[in-house]
Amino acid sequence: MRTATVSVPRASMIDDDVVLTVTGLNVDLRTPKGVLRAVNDVSFEALSGRTLALLGESGCGKSMTAKAVAGLLDPVADVTGGTVVLGGTDLAALTPKERLAYAGPELGIVFQDALTALNPVYTVGTQLGEAFRIHEGLSAKAAKVKAIELMRRVGIPEPESRVDSFPHQFSGGMRQRILIAMAVALNPRLLIADEPTTALDVTVQAQIMKLLRDLRTESHMAVVLITHDLALVAEEADTVAVMYAGNVVETGPVKEVFGTPHHPYTRGLLDSVPADVGRGQDLTSIAGSPPELHRIPDGCVYQSRCPLVQDICRAIRPTLEPDGAGRAVACHFSEELDNV
């Protein structure tokens, strides 16, 4: 048991170390319609001091992937394959108790809706201090001092007087800061941010994203940013994994993937953004909508909406093929994409 130790010293304080490796992750859902594959063969790496974006539309499995990594899946969902290695330790090999002791301090997670994520009947000071009481064995009094320190670190004004306030007494932006403070309390190596600014206004979103950047730079965390917002990915992330219907269809450095997409879905998403399309001109949209989980076809998951679809796409599902230069794409016809 390592519960009484102080926060674990970082193995290294330099960027670009591999913090998280997810390999071949499968998540199945037990539903009345049978067992459905929500996340299929998903692999990615998160590096210290860098931001990886999991990008996709609703229902594509991006949040389910994050929950599987954090061990927070609903009871109806099971990890049925793959490994999640955090800081050299395979999380699946740990017992729940070991996992709590190890992954608790090493992994922080920020949810979208701060009001739901916080407990309304405890003060924010109590909730912020919980990590210190559980993992560092501090007294309630000492934990409160740490909580005030944390509130100052995430930019909450007058933390001494606000530490005894309840979540509903804070604005949306301040609640999100509290949630971020809880996630980074024990200096985790990995921070998962699941749509952290979707419920916020743009000026507050800019403040929160700046805070996350500052914290990442300060403590060399790896950040996994889950979002559906392409512009946010373009500005905040170093690498991106584009997900569609439970599968990663394309990965690589953001600038390269967005600059020259190799998968027709990535290209379709980029074309759907209204920026720079003149008033009155039609946007290029993707026909149809994503398949429901119980109707995912054999072969390529994107076949029903793809402009390049051929017989082979209906028969064989393309695997994510690395190009040797840091990018990978799952498409039979990615070379032909530029000619369309």
Partner: protein, 366 residues
């Protein structure tokens, strides 16, 4: 100051003309507290044009939309719809007016009755407006036509809302708004609940309908890239006031109010071709409570250009000398050069991360 205080020139015959519209709410249990949701709003909408209404949550966008639909009665000010005040109408005249202004709601899952079929939902307005399509035959024909113009199949009329995807549900909401052949449709965040690929389909549909039917839109959204794509003119709201209006190009490319510039700057851009990140204005704090708005200029508590006068005098609406339709409420409006500079990507520098520059780096007021 090179700007002159000018009355806002109007288009020849605005379809909708709003002057000095004020709406206060009394908050119970908090003494004599008055929440000023709308404070002397002026705006106009021409036939067949799209007015984009942007602003952050709590700024009064939705109250304005509700007042325009006569769901709220204003405390002061006037609304003129082709010269008539709808609040003075009664009986049949009022009913006829209501037909002409319709609404599309944000959430396509909450705004359609799950116990009705798509056909019943779209036809329901005719139960009130009985004279529009009096016979069953006409209604059936019109229903088929409406389904067709929003991109649904005639056979979809018998399905219930749960059988449709989010984008298709929003098409039903649009068909319902079109059922009474309105002149103005208020669209309150019509695409923000939709996925990006579906959002583009619905925006294309709205554009197509406007060109075919000549209907005017009041398009409320917090997504600036969407507003830029759909709107002819834009009004920016902050704490119950319209602080800047102008053509879409004027407001987006050469904002005059510091808040507008901050809003544009805070919104992330997709452009990855530029290797240097943009310098970004990160505003301090959040919007003050509308129960206790700041004196003078409402934005002064977060503004990097604020001076003493901003606390004492509310800035008047002033048009730019070069652009008479480009109006901002600011004592120290941004000059076009400054605005362009603020929104441009930062010059290449060796700074660790130029994105981290905040408003304090942007120098003294000009």
């Amino acid at each position: 100051m090179s700007d002159t205080t000018a009355t806002v020139p109007h288009l020849p015959v605005p379809l909708l003309d709003v002057r000095d519209l004020t709406k206060n709410f009394h908050v119970p249990g908090r003494g004599n507290n008055v929440l000023c949701a709308l404070d002397k709003i002026n705006l106009h909408v021409g036939r067949g044009e799209t007015l984009g209404l942007v602003g952050e949550s709590g700024c009064g966008k939705s109250t304005l939309a509700r007042t325009l639909l006569m769901l709220e009665r204003p405390d002061e000010g006037t609304i003129r719809f082709e010269g008539t005040d709808p609040f003075a109408l009664t009986g049949k005249e009022l009913l006829a007016w209501r037909r002409r202004v319709q609404m599309v709601f944000q959430d396509p899952f909450a705004s359609l009755n799950a116990r009705m079929t798509a056909g019943e939902i779209i036809s329901e307005p005719w139960a009130t407006h009985t004279t529009l399509y009096p016979s069953k035959k006409e209604r059936a024909a019109r229903l088929r036509e409406l389904l067709e113009i929003v991109g649904l199949r005639p056979s979809d009329a018998g399905k219930s809302p749960q059988e449709f995807s989010g984008g298709q549900r929003q098409r039903i909401g649009i068909a319902r708004a079109l059922a009474l052949n309105p002149d103005v449709i208020v669209l309150d965040e019509p695409v923000s609940a939709l996925d990006l690929s579906v959002q583009a389909q619905v925006l294309n549909l709205l554009n197509d309908l406007q060109q075919r039917l000549g209907v005017a839109y009041i398009f409320i959204s917090h997504d600036l890239s969407v507003v830029r794509h759909v709107a002819d003119r834009v009004a920016v709201m902050y704490l119950g006031r319209i602080i800047e209006t102008g053509t879409t190009e004027q407001v987006f490319d050469r904002p005059r109010h510091p808040y507008t510039a901050a809003l544009m700057s805070a919104s992330p851009h997709l452009d990855v071709s530029n290797s240097t990140p943009r310098k970004r204005i990160v505003l301090e704090g959040e919007m003050p409570s509308p129960l206790d708005p700041p004196s003078g200029c409402r934005f002064r508590t977060r503004c990097w250009k604020a001076q003493d006068i901003c606390a004492t005098d509310a800035p008047p609406a002033a048009a730019s000398t070069d652009e008479p339709l480009h109006v901002a409420e600011c004592h120290f409006p941004l000059m076009p050069e400054t605005a362009v500079q603020l929104l441009a990507p930062a010059a290449r520098s060796n700074d660790s991360d130029p994105r981290l520059h905040t408003i304090t780096d942007l120098g003294a007021p000009c």
